[in-house]
């Protein structure tokens, strides 16, 4: 698929995401919106998958480590044909499998996540299994910036290059905000690229809302044979809705009627 198509796709994901959060009065819309362009690119040309055979062995594995932002992943999966878009109406309802953290009971979701700092170690296991079994599929993990506070991530970051996991790519949704403040004020990650390089990763820095840059970064993997790649995607929390952008409040708040109408108008 082309860059133009993926931009259109991102728009649809944003609309659906906001609708889900609004209807369910749910939180975490900011982090769901910051990763939409990355998801759109992944599911419109980068990842190998078959929505009718979600467990097809040759599929690429995508793990969302920041499970709290699952609304835009669910929307992406529905719009990619894994299940009916109408099912998203059950999001967060009593008795529904659409939990408000990513749930592996849903077609296309590989791993339940919601406790931060879990998916990358699991992803190392998936990548190691592929290497040992000589399988060609790839593993992509989408992480948040706040969760890089967790030591578990850095244990895995140390592990992957040592085991030459060049089938593993991490994408960091660097939206600069976590739960109780700005990343640079809570635990500064900088120099992030320098840290990853020092841990022997290949690193690329991109604008995480520029589809051309996302496609370029994701379609030339691995950057170097034998080495895992880290893509640092500079993003804006709440991207696409001006009053949500870069506002900590929208980690928690859910749109009221007026917010909802405004948000939809801005994206359409």
């Amino acid at each position: 698929m082309s860059k133009k198509n993926s931009e259109e796709f991102a728009k649809k994901i944003r609309l659906k995401t906001i609708e889900m959060v609004y209807k369910a009065k749910a939180s975490h819309v900011g982090g769901a919106l910051s990763m939409v362009d990355i998801l759109a690119a992944l599911y419109s040309g980068i990842l190998k998958y078959n929505p009718r055979k979600p467990k097809w062995n040759e599929r690429d594995r995508f793990l969302l480590s920041k499970g709290h932002a699952c609304t835009s992943l669910y929307a992406t999966l529905a719009l990619s044909g894994f299940f009916d878009v109408a099912e998203l109406d059950n999001y967060a309802k009593d008795g529904s499998i659409f939990l408000s953290h990513a749930s592996h009971k849903i077609q296309g979701v590989e791993l339940s996540t919601g406790s931060l700092g879990h998916a990358l170690p699991v992803g190392c296991g998936l990548a190691l299994a592929a290497k040992r079994k000589n399988e060609k599929h790839r593993i992509f993990i989408l992480l948040s910036d706040g969760e890089l506070d967790e030591g578990s991530n850095w244990e895995a970051i140390l592990f992957a290059p040592k085991h030459n996991l060049d089938n593993l790519t991490i994408i960091i949704d660097y939206n600069k905000i976590q739960s109780l403040g700005n990343v640079k004020d809570v635990l500064d990650l900088e120099p992030l690229s320098g840290k990853l390089k020092a841990f022997n990763w290949q690193t690329i820095e991109i604008d995480g809302h520029n589809h051309e840059q996302i496609f370029n970064a994701l379609s030339t993997l691995p950057k170097q044979k034998g080495i895992p790649t880290a893509i640092i995607a500079h993003t804006i929390k709440g991207k696409g809705v001006d009053f949500m952008e870069s506002k900590l409040l929208w980690h928690y708040k859910s749109p009221n009627d007026e917010d909802f109408r405004n948000a939809i108008k801005q994206i359409e």
């Binding site: 499998i97 953290h101 109780l180 980690h251």
Partner: protein, 296 residues
Amino acid sequence: MRTAFINQLIQEARNNPSIFLIVGDLGFSVVEPFAEEFPDRFLNAGVAEQNMTGIAAGLAIEGYTVFTYSIGNFPTLRCMEQIRYDVCYHNLNVKIVAVGGGYAYGPLGASHHATEELGMLRTIPNLIVCAPGDPIETRAVTSAIIKHTGPCYLRLGKAGEPIVHQNELEIGIGKMLPVIEGKETAILSTGAMLKYTYDYIEDNKLKWGLYSFPFIKPLDLEGLKIIAENYRKIITIEEHQKSSGFGSAILEGYNDLEESKKISKRPEIKRIAIPDQFVSVAGKQEYLRKLYKIKL
């Protein structure tokens, strides 16, 4: 309960310069008043619960009374070894606080259901394990664990739990609270099940007794003995796995009382708790409680 907790903590911190609060990147619109009033006794350690708990141990060695604060399983299960080895083995003055006990964060899924931690934590020596039942108990327990020097765990609900006790109270470590005196059957409730249980007895005009156990460890054996002398049947209720939780602690307590001949015969005991299963559907707290028959 979290509001009652933070207000009590602020009040205590005004007279107790050793109180220090560390949060794991959580507490939005709760912890700000503490942070503003005591900036040099507040820290956001980031999304890093193991480090948070280790830092708390270090601060406690140097004389601080340290509270760690996060939600669900993050301040407990995520850093269990720091709790066991750094905090409890060294018997340090660290108070671990988790908001969102049981299914309080129901729709958020298994990552956010704190339904095993009471059992895991009560096996650790030196650790006091508390689950207050309403905002009044929360204030009293917060105050009690500050007076006690040593490790404590405090399980809270979220915000807006109704009050059950009529008046402010004081409570000693390990004491239970009689709520309704009755006969034949006594309900023993821990944590946020209190309001539901109280309403059930009142609404159905039952003659049952109700006892709230804000302390799961140490257990009020003296209190259990008195209950055994006055009731034939006991029902325990908790928002926790059945295995090794509050009901299990009560069974153990009665067994020990019987074995040491402090009571002649233990009462009949029924335990209401989660039946060794994970929830993998969304649901508000009331919905999930019903799903697993956490009800009388």
